[in-house]
Structure formats: structure tokens, C-alpha cells
């Protein structure tokens, strides 16, 4: 069976929802910088994302930012603007959500309390689930009544592609019809500290969630994109990343029967060697880090969203292909090849 993306949404520094993201991609906009802690840091933050304003007061007392970003983005795909549940996302829909360490802030706050309170167990039990890595996926399931498989997936910058492949396998093995599949990352001072300690400065840190609705098999409408191939490799040394990515790309074309010559767009997660993939190829090039900052675990998902956004703003009479790449510093390398139907095919 083919995997078809029938809808998507994104929350990022470019704004809340698909239209805001699409408009900014069309204009090749870069999200605004915001002054942040740790002072005098700067990051690309989701504007005006107050959890209680976005999601209401009920059930949000202990909700952390990464969870709220995922719950809000999933909400865009589960319900229409009128609050009605979409007919093609039933209660048995699956959720596959990518994350790195969920909320660095939640995890560190909880650990801090064990060291600073009068007793080491004077921690807020209600926030304990926030320190567990599946918190955001679980809350998406609870808040949106998604009773199918509920998976959390992690693999650095390649997380969004790993989640996509996990979701494909769920569908192919008959374990899920509709799947909400995406990846999320939050900004916090804690994440900035950890990132600052772990790596040399790169793109400004960003945050957000990009999520895709994978249509159930029985839905034979053409959708926004077909996932033709998802390929992975591991490179032992950073110097080998370009070659590893090249292998993935070759395989994706071979598996799909498509020709690299016809490739329309290449979107990268912002990792090493990604800019050099298919060097000299005239395809349109996008980088999620340029658009929304470095969203780490969500960076490949945002690259995929950028392809979809650009495709719908620049529709053509012919079907096109697009490549999404990811190279993570821990050695995971991957790519996804998509087919974007022609204007006539698209709903």
C-alpha cells in the first residue's frame, strides 16, 4: 500500500497552524527572533503560545510546553475549526510522535526538586509523567481520544523520518487506519544550556510541532503527497555523513523507480552535509533551520511540512517529487522521497 499524507499542520515561530506556516514558506520568510533566557540568548519562539489560552484551563495545570505544542497541533488535525471531530480521524486512529528527550525543562525541574526540597521526595507527583518521554504522545491520546497505537519515536534530527517510517509500518501491517504522525520540540533555558554544553553554536534554537495525517488505506483520494520511500543509514564518523546520505538517496530513487533528474525540491533538517546532497541539482532547496530555527527532533518534520507548503503554493500540471533529508550528529542519516500529485489530482 502507499502511504498518503492527506493533511498537515504546524505550530512554530512562524505562527499557529497550516496557513501561517504556508504563507511564510511561500515568502521564504524566516521566523522572528525573540529574546530568551538564558540571558542574553535569542531563539525563535512560537509567538503568544500561552498554554491555557490555546488549550483552555481544563487539564492544563501541569501540562508542559512540549506537550501543549503537540496537543495543539494534533488538535488542528483531529477537529475542524468548528470543533467537530473530523470523520476520517476516528477514535481508533493511531498517533506516532517524535521527540528527543521530551521536555528538558520538565525533566530537570523534577530532578532539581529532589535536590532542593526539604525532603527528596517533595516533588509534584502530578508532574512526574512530564519527566517520562511519552508524555506528549500520551496527552495527545487522552485529549483527542486516540485509542489506537500511541508510539513515541526518537532519533535526533532524523526523528521525523523515523516516525514516518514507523507510521508506515503500522499501516502496512494493518495495525492502524488513520495515523497522526509528527515530531515536536520545545525551547527552554534548560534545552539551551544542554545544547550549548553539547555542541558548537549553530542555528538559533527554535521550537514547535509539525504533524501529518496519514490517510487510511481505504481512502483512495490522492491526498497532498505520497510517501514513496524512506531510507536510513548510520555513519560512524561525521566525515562519512555525506556518503551515507548519498546511499540513502540512491536507494530511495531505486526503490521508487523515480529519476533524480525529475526532482523538484530538496528540504533539509539543517544537519551536516545535507546542503551538499545531489550537489549541482537545480531543485528548489529549503532548510527547516532557515524557516523556524533549530527544532532538533522536529527539524525533519518541519522540512517535510515546508515541502508540502511550497507545493500547494506552487501547483503545477505535472506530478513532482521532493526529497527530505536528515543527518544527526549521533550518526543517524535518513531521507524520504515524496510524490506530489499534479494540480488536477489534488483535492
Amino acid at each position: 500500500m502507499t502511504t498518503t499524507i492527506s493533511d498537515w499542520s504546524a505550530i512554530s515561530a512562524l505562527g499557529l497552524g497550516r496557513p501561517a506556516f504556508a504563507a511564510a514558506v511561500r515568502a521564504r520568510g524566516t521566523a522572528a527572533e525573540t529574546a530568551t533566557p538564558p540571558d542574553p540568548g535569542r531563539a525563535r519562539l512560537v509567538p503568544r503560545f500561552e498554554i491555557r489560552e490555546v488549550l483552555g484551563r481544563g487539564g492544563t495545570r501541569t501540562m508542559d510546553r512540549v506537550t501543549a505544542l503537540a496537543v495543539a497541533t494534533a488538535g488542528h488535525l483531529v477537529g475542524g475549526t468548528d470543533g467537530e471531530r473530523r470523520a476520517d480521524v476516528g477514535n481508533e486512529a493511531a498517533l506516532v510522535l517524535g521527540t528527543n528527550i521530551s521536555s528538558a525543562k520538565s525533566s530537570m525541574d523534577f530532578a532539581r526538586d529532589t535536590l532542593t526540597q526539604a525532603k527528596p521526595f517533595f516533588v509534584d507527583a502530578g508532574r512526574f509523567p512530564n519527566a517520562v518521554l511519552n508524555c506528549a504522545a500520551a496527552q495527545c491520546g487522552i485529549r483527542h481520544t486516540l485509542r489506537g497505537p500511541n508510539a513515541t519515536i526518537s532519533g535526533g534530527r532524523a526523528t521525523g523520518l523515523l516516525a514516518l517510517n514507523y507510521a508506515r509500518r503500522l499501516q502496512r501491517s494493518g495495525r492502524a487506519g488513520a495515523v497522526l504522525c509528527g515530531a515536536v520540540e520545545e525551547f527552554s533555558a534548560e534545552r539551551a544550556w544542554l545544547e550549548g554544553a553539547a555542541a558548537a553554536p549553530g542555528a538559533l534554537l527554535g521550537e514547535g510541532c509539525a504533524m501529518f495525517l496519514l490517510a487510511p488505506e481505504k481512502d483512495d483520494r490522492p491526498g497532498l503527497a505520497e510517501v514513496l520511500a524512506v531510507e536510513f543509514s548510520v555513519c560512524a564518523e561525521p566525515a562519512g555523513a555525506g556518503a551515507a546520505l548519498g546511499t540513502c538517496v540512491d536507494r530511495a530513487f531505486t526503490a521508487s523507480g523515480e529519476s533524480p533528474a525529475d526532482l523538484w525540491a530538496i528540504a533539509g533538517s539543517g544537519g551536516a552535509a545535507e546542503d551538499d546532497v545531489l550537489a549541482g541539482h537545480p531543485a528548489v532547496r529549503l532548510r527547516s533551520t532557515d524557516l523556524v530555527g533549530d527544532t532538533h527532533a522536529a527539524s525533519a518534520a518541519f522540512a517535510l511540512a515546508a515541502v508540502l507548503a511550497l507545493a500547494e503554493s506552487e501547483r503545477t500540471g505535472d506530478a513532482r517529487t521532493a526529497l527530505v533529508t536528515a543527518v544527526d550528529r549521533d550518526g543517524v542519516v535518513g531521507c524520504a522521497l515524496l510524490r506530489l500529485p499534479s494540480a488536477g489530482d489534488t483535492r
Partner: protein, 408 residues
Amino acid sequence: MVTGLGVISPIGVGLAAFAAGLRTGRSGAAPVRGFDTTGFEHDIACEVPDFDAADWLQELDPADLGRASRFAVAAARLAVADASGDPAAAEHTVARLRSRHGLIAIGTTMGESRDIDALVAQELAHGPAGMSPALARRINAGRLSVSIAHELGLTDVEPVTVPTACAAGNYAIGHGYDAVRAGDVDFALCGGADALCRKTFAGFYRLGAMAPDRCRPFDLDRRGMLTGEGAGVLLLEDLESARARGARIHAEVLGYGLNCDAAHPVAPDSDSVARCMRLALDDANVEPEEVDLISAHGTATKANDIAEARAIRGVFGDASPPRTVSMKSMLGHTLGAASALAAIGCVVAIGEGFIPPTINHEETDPECGLDCVPNEAVEADLRVVQNNALAFGGNNAVLLLGRYEEPS
């Protein structure tokens, strides 16, 4: 086909020690040594004692890995060695895996949470600038799986970490099963890993979910869980690949089921758990009466054991549900490793023909109403075994394993 098993557990490292521990009902409970427990009124947990990653790692420097990744990588090494039969042949097996396309799927609940605890302590003492770059580089959850690729020199693999909390082991095994069965990959190294840490201990302690001394699943006087740690990794191959290299087939994965209660962050929903078991039975094409043994999630909290037992009786009937044991009575709750270690325990039970006991048992809670095989292992001819996992967030994953029989 399950062709390799690697175990790092509180009751034994390596398959033989683990199997012996299960057979003799060994307890992994002891006072915590891994972090300071001053201020807690009790300090019993199930750590992996005296674990030195350098004993197992051949390529990677343990200093580059957090404790959970060390467990995962060591367990993967052990799984490959087990799959080779003769330890001297392990290098040959690794070379074979390198030439094939594979999946590495490792589940976890907390990732490298112990390192995060250490980074917080550094931050409190010296400010953010005092945080160790070496530790900060170790914490990404993806490293639990990709480090196995680096250690074994595997490049043609898809390394994915599956942090679906305490159902993560079964989730990862299921993912490996689907990938192998669909022909996407030739092999899968899959399982789960977690390292005990102070924040997890404090969290379960505060929830009132932790026993002061012993873990007593399904007992009338059970007081809760004990936290644990470790890793379990299984090598899955398709039958053809296993036969081609003359592998010993320990057992086969028959199928599995996944669902989400979508109700409460920490309390299980027995109807939903029952639904998950039915999904797994259907997927495996197994009738409830064919199940010879259930390896329960069995945390020994009041709520879990009653909800899980109710779900089991709902699916299997009140009259004579299968014998249902909790290996957590011996291992503690090893979180992301729990269902992977229990799955390996199931494979051992099938292969060696015994049921691991539920230890520390005095009187079965009538509300649970299950035969939990108290205290002593019993001999049994097991063909189909079910392995339950229930997680925070209402994430359920149920795996069915069966004895492999050569077609006659």
C-alpha cells in the same frame, strides 16, 4: 524467529544467569547504591550490581555512553553472542549482520535520565556553565539505538529509539517483528533499556507506588513496586535467514497488539487492557484457550494488579484463566526494559519448560483471583505465552510468543 537473547538484569547478566535466576526465584532487591537516598524512608530497588560496560563493549568507550545506552549496547553484544552459539563465532555473526539490512529498535521510559540528574546537580552547584559537555552529549534518546550500530559496526540499519514508557520494550519488539515480517529488513535487534535514577525513584515514591522492601504482585498485602534497571535485546530474523546460518531458534513472535486507554495519565483501564489482549490474540491468530502462560505487567501496585487481573479474566474467563506470573517480583520494574526482559523470560520459559515464579508471595488477593505460581518455579510444557505491558499514558502493548516447531 527469535534467534538471539541478550540480558543485563538485576538477577543476572547473560542468558544463562538470567534463566537460572528465573528458575530459582532470585530477587534483585537491595539497598540503592547508584545515588544518594538520604531523606527517603526506604531505599530498596533492583539495580544491576557491579555492572562494568568495559566487560562487554569492544569498540565504544563507555565514557561516551550514558548508563542506559551502556546497558543497551552490552545487551546487544550478548544477543549477538547468544545468536552465534559458540562465543568464538560471534565475530562471524557480526560480520554477517554488517552485510545485511537491519532495524535496531530500543525502547525506554526515561532515556539517559541519570545523566540529566547529574547535570542538574552540576547546574545547582556551579551554574549552567558548570554542566559537563561530555554528559550533555550523552543524553539524546536516539543514542540508545544508534550506539548499538556504532558498537557492532552496522551501517546499513535503521536505528530508532521507542520511548513509549513502560510498554516500550514490547513496542520495540513489535516494530522489529513487523519490519522483519514485511521483508523490510533481514534482521532486527530490538528490546528496551533503562537506568535507575533518583528522579524516577522520587517520582514513584511520591506517587505512593513503591514498596518499602519487597515487590509482591497479586498478593493481598502488596505494597507497590520496586524500581529496577537493565536491558533486554532480542535478535529477530526471518526463518530463511535463520536457517541459512544454521541458527538455533529460541521461539517465534506470533503477533502483538497495541492500543491506548486515552483516559488517565497513570491509572490503567481494564476494558482497554482487555481490548489490547484481544488485538494481540487476533494478530497472532491464537485463541484464548491456547495461551499457556501470561507474563503480567504485574507491578504490585494496588491499582495495576486489580485492573490487569480483571482484564485477564475478562478475556480468558473467570473459570480458569492461564497461570499469570509477574517477573517484576524478582526484577523490580525495569521500566523501558521491563517488557523486553519479560519477553526474554517468556522465551526462556518456553525453551526450558518451566514457569518462573511470582516470588515474595504469601496470600493471593481474591480480587486478583489468579494463579500466580507463588514462590517456586514449576515445570510446564509451554507452547504459547503472552507478555503484557501497560504504561503511563494508558499505553498498552501485548506480545505473543510461541514455541517454534520444525515442520515435519
